[in-house]
Amino acid sequence: MREKLVELRGVSYKYPDTETFTLRDISLEGYRDELILLIGPSGCGKSTLARIFNGLIPNFYGGTLLGDIDIAGYDPRKTPTAKFAKIVGFVFQNPENQLFFNSVERELAFGLENLGVPPSEIRERVEAALREYGIEDLRSRSPFELSSGQQQKVALASVMIMQPQILILDEPTANLDPLSALKILGLIAKKTREYRMLTILIEHRLEIALQFASRVVVMQEGRIIADGPPLETVLEAEYIVGAPAIIQLIKRARASGLPLNPARLIPESLAVEVTRRMREMRRYE
């Protein structure tokens, strides 16, 4: 029995002083142990939708929010953003703008200080987080001294230390080189499993991010136009989100009469699958 953590029904939203609705009639359910990849062209409303989950909309941005919303039992129209911080963690795109202190240690402690956690417990959890994320030697460094990959890791740790049940990430790898991007997305996937969270990840680089998703949601012009398993959903929406090489290859193979269903959307898995199919085919010769 899967545990439902969020439910949106018929949700629409319009920013203050605008006439058009940025989100139109969105219905979505999110469960524990899921990593949802939220994709769509720029301006489709992904970032807006993401901010409903932690209350920034409507508390920080104002505007008109309609529909039924249940985020782990809370409604952002009735609950201030700060209260959501206990259950929803949000990692923003630019690490520069979410690291506020001159030491990593203080950064990690900040969220817990805001929640009123007793100092001795803060100390324990900060030490544990430094170890868990392998950033002990960065303890007293200022963000300016860190690489962007390290900065995002610190940002992630500062959010995870608050033990959220839901994790939202808005283009966390935008400023990172491919290898660092892969590493941090791998870390996010690992933590999603470890802590059994619902993670919603907004990303453009499908060739790196797709392999970690258990579900893909595609948005366009404020609506959800596709929602389902990664391979099929990306194929469905290929014309607006593009398809990484692995998906294109599977599509063509299928069209040529070779159905491929790799266990994971990574090159190694695909190779295993191709070899398996080949052996099958040889057996029939």
């Binding site: 062209p41 990172l176 790196i208 990484p244 063509r252």
Partner: protein, 279 residues
């Protein structure tokens, strides 16, 4: 590639040290030939942006020389060099200030002292190419992210520099925007421009780029056509890049002895090869 093609930018044993002591370039020697499309790749901090800033004189080498069309960059002002080498920086929001899109694109032309009728013509031309003409009287701040990026390119294109340098043109862009940028590059190539693209988007450079220069820690560690560089796993790893997904798939299949080679850059190629091997 014509060996005799004029070297429009020459970099000779360049060292560069920032005032705070950081050695950003440690002996870089390379060139860009007229009409070439070159990609400059490498991890964050490898020295890519530092190097391109030498192309228009924003930075002058601590040691070594940089020559643009034969002139030493130390002897020429940035404004003068910018007429030949136009750099489109990564974040357009760092430079937008005009009241209208038109004025924004006209800015460099006016700085260079072009007469107003030429300015008018050039701005219209550039805006049309980048499909922004309908916004000419609008405030640049009201454009969408993708449109602002095109605006930054239009602003440089308008004064028709021979070399256009694009700093991370696809960073943070969605699929359709990237397609648009590919088309712009295709167009620039048809116009005979020399193009330098700084990027770590390996998927993007597969198609149009003729030569890739890979940097790491202030040095050039590899240089060559995409088919060589993008299949060199060791070099790519050193500069924190991933091979294009196609190549990774080919390599995995090569490892399982399904394929006899792994240097395939496009899905077309790969697909064909796989089905050849399967027969």
């Amino acid at each position: 590639m014509n060996e005799e093609a004029e070297r429009i930018i020459e970099v000779e044993e360049v060292f560069f040290e920032y005032p705070d002591g950081v050695q950003a370039l440690r002996g870089v020697t390379t060139h860009v030939a007229r009409g070439e499309i070159v990609a400059l790749m490498g991890e964050n901090g490898a020295g890519k942006t530092t190097l391109i800033k030498h192309f228009n004189g924003l930075l002058k080498p601590t040691r070594g020389t940089v020559k643009v069309k034969g002139r030493d960059t130390r002897r020429v002002s940035v404004a003068e060099l910018s007429k030949t080498v136009g750099i489109v920086f990564q974040n357009p929001d760092h430079q937008l200030f005009a009241e209208t899109v038109f004025d924004e694109v006209a800015f460099p032309l006016r700085n260079f002292g072009f007469p107003e009728d030429v300015v008018e013509r050039r701005v219209k031309w550039a805006l049309n190419i980048l499909e922004l003409y309908q916004y000419r009287d609008r405030s640049p701040f009201l454009l969408s992210v993708g449109e602002r990026k095109r605006l930054a390119i239009a602003s440089i294109l308008a004064y028709d520099p021979e070399v256009i340098v694009l700093d991370e043109p696809t960073a943070g862009q969605d699929y359709l925007q990237k397609e648009k940028i590919s088309e712009i590059i295709k167009l620039l190539r048809l116009m005979g421009k020399t193009i330098v693209i700084v990027t770590h988007d390996v998927e993007f450079v597969v198609t149009y780029v003729q030569r890739i220069i890979v940097m790491s820690q202030g040095r050039i560690i590899a240089e060559g056509p995409p088919s060589e560089v993008l299949t060199d796993f060791a070099t790519l790893r050193r500069s924190k890049l991933l091979p294009p997904q196609c190549v990774r798939i080919a390599r995995a299949l090569y490892g399982k002895t399904v394929l006899s080679d792994y240097r395939y850059l496009t899905v077309d190629e790969l697909h064909r090869k796989i089905f050849e091997e399967l027969r």
